[in-house]
């Protein structure tokens, strides 16, 4: 018996050989399908945000949006795996960390809130053929340099200013405010400078009823803005148009109160700072009546409601109403990347990028038409709304069809706030 068994094991019949060959052929033939299945797993996305440094407040806000995104995206059938990276409000760090993330297997990048860092990331992604979706970053040159692996689901500085100036006119008309002069005060970082260039180009033809007396640049990292405010006060404008970040917006209002400078309105034609939680906490009632014309979350969208439902329990110390700008755009950037991956059915950079360029997402978070990109990778259909701080909460005041309150101008004096 023993010998027979050994013989049977040792001998390979023609039938067995043919069966083995067939099995080998089957395995070899189906191997490519196995590879495809492996590639259709979750898309590994590096989320590059300035979670420390001078943009940390906004970066942390975007980060909270990114943290809740996978669950909401999963409910909509998108699979993502996020790798969270702090780019420290520094373009050089952004560049090196992007290299590192791609080397460690990230298949797409989302970020980076600030235009300087965004440019640095775009250069790396272009070289490595990795899709890059900009969440927030308005410098026009981002989509003017011919990057094939970058799309931006955020308005350019020009779009923000154009929409913002138009809405200033609407706000002045709605409140019957007679404003004859304005000063434009802006941070001198990449974003602020881009806004200034857009303002210089667009304001002369915007048909606004007031004169722009001066444009003043300041360092957003400055310890205080007392001299800047003194300079603006010496011009005595009716309106103060501002492009701020977060901490500098607080310093600005404090110095305005100290110097008893009370313009009829503080309006941002499209910038952060005036609606950050830090702004409300530091200034209390002095934060009210500041106005900003920016894209905002659509409260009527089901996806916005789903995002808010996921956000609230995860962030009990933060308000979605305050953070929906950063959270919404960060979520949408992840949505664009995830939808591209789903449509492509692969994690291959060129294939995912091709699918992203063909994006047409009608279900999304921010106010506006379906997300689509032009040949430069820019979503040109992102509108703005007039949002005003009321009771330390951002409140949509225009356009009327989405407004929850009417705009109030002129602002009450500092001493009249309670």
């Amino acid at each position: 018996m023993k010998r027979t068994a050994q013989s049977a094991q040792a001998r390979v019949s023609r039938r067995a050989f043919t069966a083995g060959l067939g099995a080998a052929g089957f395995v070899a033939g189906t191997a490519p399908f196995n590879i495809v299945r492996a590639q259709s797993g979750p898309l590994k996305i590096a989320v590059m945000l300035p979670r420390s440094g001078y943009l940390a407040q906004a970066g942390q806000s975007c980060y909270r949006g990114a943290l809740v995104a996978p669950k909401v995206l999963s409910d909509y059938g998108y699979k993502v795996e996020l790798v969270h990276i702090d780019c420290e409000s520094n373009a050089d760090v952004s560049r090196t960390q992007t290299e590192r993330a791609i080397n460690e297997g990230c298949q797409a990048v989302v970020g980076a809130f600030e235009s300087g860092s965004t440019l640095a990331i775009a250069q790396v992604c272009e070289q490595r053929q990795i899709p890059f979706v900009v969440n927030v970053g308005a410098a026009p040159q981002l989509t003017e340099q011919g990057y094939k692996y970058m799309v931006r689901n955020f308005p350019t500085g020009g779009m923000l200013v154009t929409n913002g100036l138009k809405l200033i006119n609407d706000a002045l008309t709605a409140t019957k405010l007679d404003a004859k002069s304005a000063v434009f005060l802006h941070a001198n970082d990449t974003f602020g400078t881009a806004q200034r260039q857009a303002m210089d180009k667009i304001f002369p033809t915007a048909g606004l009823p007031f004169k722009l007396l001066d444009s003043i640049a300041y360092d957003p990292k400055a310890q205080d803005l007392s001299i800047e405010v003194t300079k603006v006060r010496s011009l005595n404008p009716d309106l103060l148009l501002v492009v701020t970040r977060s901490a500098d917006a607080i310093k600005l209002v404090r110095d305005m109160v100290r110097q008893r400078f009370e313009p009829k309105a503080i309006i941002s034609p499209g910038s952060p700072g005036l609606y950050d939680e830090e702004f409300y906490q530091a200034l209390g009632p002095l934060a009210d009546y500041a106005m900003y014309n920016i894209p905002w979350a659509n409260p009527k969208s089901q996806m916005t409601q789903a995002l808010e439902a996921a956000y609230k329990p995860a962030n009990p110390n933060f308000r979605f109403a305050v953070e929906c700008f950063n959270v919404g755009f960060t979520f949408e950037a992840l949505l664009v990347a995830a939808a591209g991956h789903k449509a492509a059915g692969t994690t291959s950079g060129p294939e995912v990028m091709k699918a992203i360029h063909a994006t047409n997402l009608s279900e999304h978070v921010m106010i506006g038409p379906p997300i689509k990109f032009d040949e430069k990778g820019q979503n040109v259909g992102i509108p703005s709304a007039v949002v005003q701080n009321r009771g330390k909460t951002p409140t949509v005041t225009l356009p009327a069809d989405v407004a929850t309150a009417a705009p109030v101008l002129p602002m009450p004096g500092w001493q009249k706030r309670t």
């Binding site: 003043i216 640049a217 001299i227 003194t230 404090r254 100290r258 110097q259």
Partner: protein, 289 residues
């Protein structure tokens, strides 16, 4: 443009410059005696800002009051730091001292980031948004208080060096180290005392700075650079030079912001620095080596 507005700008520059001067004074005192450049100077100032912030939010202590306990604690920290660590590096090559103090600076900034996070911490003082109005000139209350605090602390330091035995001994060390050692002065103890005094100045300046700026780890580097600029302009090792340099920088930055562009004020400070280095390398009030 009225005279009142220009006066407003100059007064703001002088008031801010006095606090800058107090901060730089600590750096100048340490270098003048110990001959070690404190590259963690701004970082210690920011630690003092956070300590002041904490005392304000937990105990309601006004920064003008809390500067005294903070200065005392910082004196102790400085004394211990010099006695246990920095004394070992006195007399070693400059790059070793540089690495040591930059290492301390990195530890401090990252420690602050870990404990407090990156957000700026404002102390919402009741007088933070109040001002005095004299004719058409507005003067911030907070800046006035901070400047008075800076003048009081600086005067106390000048008096200490001028009228006390320890102060005289420290000055002897600064003037002639060998001679001081020969007459039996405990040089290492005096070095530790001096480093303590330097940090007490920084602690007081940090506490006063809370009335003007929000506490944030990102300020540290800027403060170190600012203190260096001031002491080089005023004269490295000169106490009076530090205060004069502080006021000069404060006023020149304010005027440059107003007449040129706010974003150019740092450029103007550094232009002043370059001019002083070229025309009077020992600083405005420094002694030629």
């Amino acid at each position: 443009m009225t005279i009142a507005i220009i006066l407003n700008v100059v007064i703001q520059g002088v008031l801010t410059g006095l606090v800058y001067g107090l901060m730089a004074l600590g750096l100048s005192v340490i270098f003048g005696v110990v001959r070690v450049v404190n590259f963690a100077h701004g970082e210690f100032a920011v630690v003092a800002m956070y300590a002041t912030y904490l005392l304000f939010v937990t105990l309601g202590l006004d920064p003008i009051v809390s500067l005294f306990p903070i200065a005392i604690v910082f004196f102790g920290v400085g004394y211990l730091l010099q006695a246990t660590l920095i004394n070992r590096f006195v007399g070693r090559s400059e790059h070793e001292q540089f690495i040591l103090l930059v290492g301390i600076a990195i530890i401090i900034v990252n420690g602050l980031l870990m404990i407090f996070g990156p957000d700026a911490r404002p102390a919402n003082l009741p007088y933070a948004i109040e001002s005095y109005m004299i004719g058409d000139v507005f003067i911030d209350k907070a800046r006035v208080y901070a400047a008075i605090g800076a003048i009081v602390v600086s005067s106390a330091l000048f008096a200490f060096f001028r009228y006390t035995a320890t102060g005289t001994a420290i000055r002897a060390c600064a003037d002639n180290l060998t001679g001081a050692a020969v007459v039996g002065l405990n040089v290492k103890r005096l070095y530790a005392f001096t480093f303590g005094l330097g940090l007490a100045c920084v602690g007081a300046a940090g506490a006063l700075m809370v009335t003007i700026a929000d506490a944030s780890p990102t300020l540290a580097q800027a403060f170190t650079l600012l203190a260096f600029t001031i002491v080089i302009i005023g004269g490295l090792g000169s106490m009076a030079g530090a205060l004069v340099g502080g006021v000069l920088i404060g006023v020149s930055e304010a005027l440059a912001s107003f007449f040129l562009a706010p974003s150019m004020k740092s450029m103007f400070s550094f232009a002043l620095l370059v001019a002083v280095l070229v025309l009077r390398p020992q600083g405005l009030m420094g002694r030629r080596a």
